[in-house]
Amino acid sequence: MVDFSNDTIWTYVVKAVLIIVFLLTSVLVAIWFERKVVARMQVRPGPNVHGPFGLLQSLADAMKLLLKEDITVRAADKFVYLLAPMISVFCSLLVFAVIPLGPQVTIPFTDISTPAQLTDFPVAVLYILACASLGVYGIVLGGWASGSTYPLLGAVRSTAQVISYELAMGLSLVSVFIMVGSMSTSEIVAHQQDYWLMLPLLPAFVIYVISMIGETNRLPFDLPEAEGELVSGYMTEYSSMKFAWFFLAEYINMINVSAIATTLFLGGWRAPWPLSAVGDGMLNEGWWPILWFLAKMWGFMFLFVWIRGTLLRLRYDQFMKFGWKVLIPFALGWIVCVAVVRGVREFQGWDLQAVGIAIFVVAAVTLLVVQLIPERTPEPTAPPEPEAFDAFAGGYPVPPLPGQRLPASPRAGRPARAGIGAAPAPDEPTAHAGKEAHDE
């Protein structure tokens, strides 16, 4: 871990203030960035009136939000209603405390040398997960405290969504822990000196990227606030400053997960490959690394916007099925693979190349043998005859069992309509008198 022993309380305070200022300005830029990029993707100019390139547009929007009337709905549970946005913002601000923005730097005009990171401890990445899981309380309580139906639905959805996607996210992070042998962010970055963890852990990286979008409630996973279904979900009843807080938390969370992905999979503040060789690693020292970190982080922000501009919102059941039946089993399987490889390397001392070749040969032989076995065609079985159904078996009315068919109801006089958009039934009134008269 990096050395924090030179830090005094003042360095901590300065770093904390700088991080908050950085996050707040980043949110303003992120909103502008998102609107501008989405506009370009949709072949329109986007905000371009206020300031150069419309840069001051989000500032104007923020001022407008602050000056709007602050409405508290009458059905609201006042205390929780006020508490919820605070929880959201507070938890989203906590994450950057353990993100390493750079290596050891010297504060200008002084000779104090300090890591470009507020703090670090052996379970830093778990701390990030803890902050994320507390942040959901803001959404859930906000939805509940509004005392209205759509926000409550949004809140319930959000709970289910975040719990299921946090599992996949946690599992994808576990493979990083197994590779590095530590959960401290600075050690994870230090481990990526030779190669980024994205390369050996590509499946985990893909799972992380998918689940980070689910975690931040962004399209195509923005079901807690789906405009088409829930007005705007948990924040429907919020206005003015309280709404602004939710908004702020959402964008800070995007920045957070991008920073985590950068730190864990893209080498953190390390310069990308051709640059890292320039001048004997000159670009990996001093203040340069903050530039690489920001570039990678904004790359992820661009990915967020790109995905938003490309994909449609998933249906809720598809979304949950994807999380539980695809992402989590896949992540579990991947962890087993990583653990086995790591265990073999650590405890057996086998030649990994030989093991890899052996696995390859076994797989090839199995594939060949499987190909040689003649495919057995299943004999076409006639659909089983529906058994006789006794509706009063044992003296009580019982439902049909599998394989039994319910006899047609004697009252089934009306012809059934197949599906919703089916042709109208023949006995429906069709042409109306006096209508054809004008039809000439």
Binding site: D77, V80, F121, P122, V123, L126, Y127, L129, A130, A132, S133, L134, V136, Y137, V140, L141, W144, L152, A155, V156, T159, A160, V162, I163, E166, G170, S182, M183, S184, P399, P400, L401, P402, R417, A418, G419, I420, G421, A422, A423, P424, E428, P429, T430, A431, H432, G434, K435, A437, H438, D439, E440
Partner: protein, 265 residues
């Protein structure tokens, strides 16, 4: 005795935790009680971290606050936020048995805890020598590996039991999006949404049919209820607009200039 900063932290957090714990018992709404528990758990985690057990503190937040209490909230919301408990005894003598069992458990716990003998502490420097999580992992996966595996098996059994108990056999085939779409096509009706009622310069109402591309009124654009009741109005057809498939008095080929003069007159 704790150091200065730790003592200050403890005396700030402990009264708040006691108040929140009382809130759990006294709160009227289930969600407020849940919030109190969350507060107590987070404060507890802070105290753990302050006592140099960061792994325990963080895991407390991730597992208990983040997952278990969230599930509680989820269930409270699903069941109905204002649902109050029924205080009727469903099983006779249930309360008495409950009290007896509780007292018995208390007696057993007091007996066990009174006789437990802890080994001499080794100090945090030794325990956290190779960082806190690594030290914990070495103890858990060497001395207590059997207990850990038993807990793992229990949890897996519970999960499988929950799956088995909630599993139900389908009586009919599942109707998904594909089946719905197939039925829609097989039904032979319109695949697209029905046309909206007429919106014209003169009228904008539910009871006026829209016109199709050839200028004929589309009766399906008016609500079926209005049609059945006979409240449908006729489409406003400009006598000067001729239907495309209507040959008209001069045949299909109409001279454009002639038509212009006709409209002007």
């Amino acid at each position: 005795m704790a150091s200065g900063a730790e003592a200050v932290l403890f005396w700030c957090l402990a009264p708040l935790m006691v108040i929140a714990a009382l809130g759990l018992v006294l709160a009227r709404k289930a969600v407020h009680a849940t919030l109190c528990v969350v507060f107590v758990m987070v404060c507890l985690a802070v105290l753990y971290v302050a006592q140099e057990a960061p792994f325990l503190g963080i895991v407390q937040v991730v597992v208990y606050t983040g997952a278990v209490m969230m599930l509680f909230l989820f269930v409270i919301m699903l069941v109905g936020v204002d649902a109050s408990d029924s205080l009727v005894e469903t099983i006779r003598g249930q309360r008495l048995v409950g009290w007896l069992l509780g007292l018995g458990l208390g007696a057993v716990l007091v007996g066990v805890l009174g006789r437990v003998a802890f080994p001499e502490g080794v100090g945090l420097e030794v325990a956290n020598e190779v960082t806190n999580p690594v030290g914990l992992a070495r103890i858990l996966l060497s001395d207590f590996v059997f207990a850990l595996e038993i807990v793992g098996i229990l949890l897996v059994t519970a999960a499988i039991a929950a799956l088995t108990l909630t599993h139900k056999q389908r009586l009919t085939a599942r109707v998904g999006q594909k089946e719905m779409a197939d039925a829609r096509v097989a039904g032979g009706g319109s695949l697209t949404p029905l046309p909206a009622p007429g919106v014209y310069a003169q009228r904008n109402a539910m009871d006026v049919p829209a016109l199709d591309a050839q200028g004929r009124p589309l009766e399906s654009s008016v609500s079926r209820v209005l049609r059945v009741r006979g409240q449908e109005r006729s489409a406003p057809v400009d006598p000067q607009i001729r239907r495309l498939d209507d040959p008209g008095p001069a045949g299909p080929a109409v001279d454009p200039p002639a038509r212009t003069t006709e409209e002007e007159s």
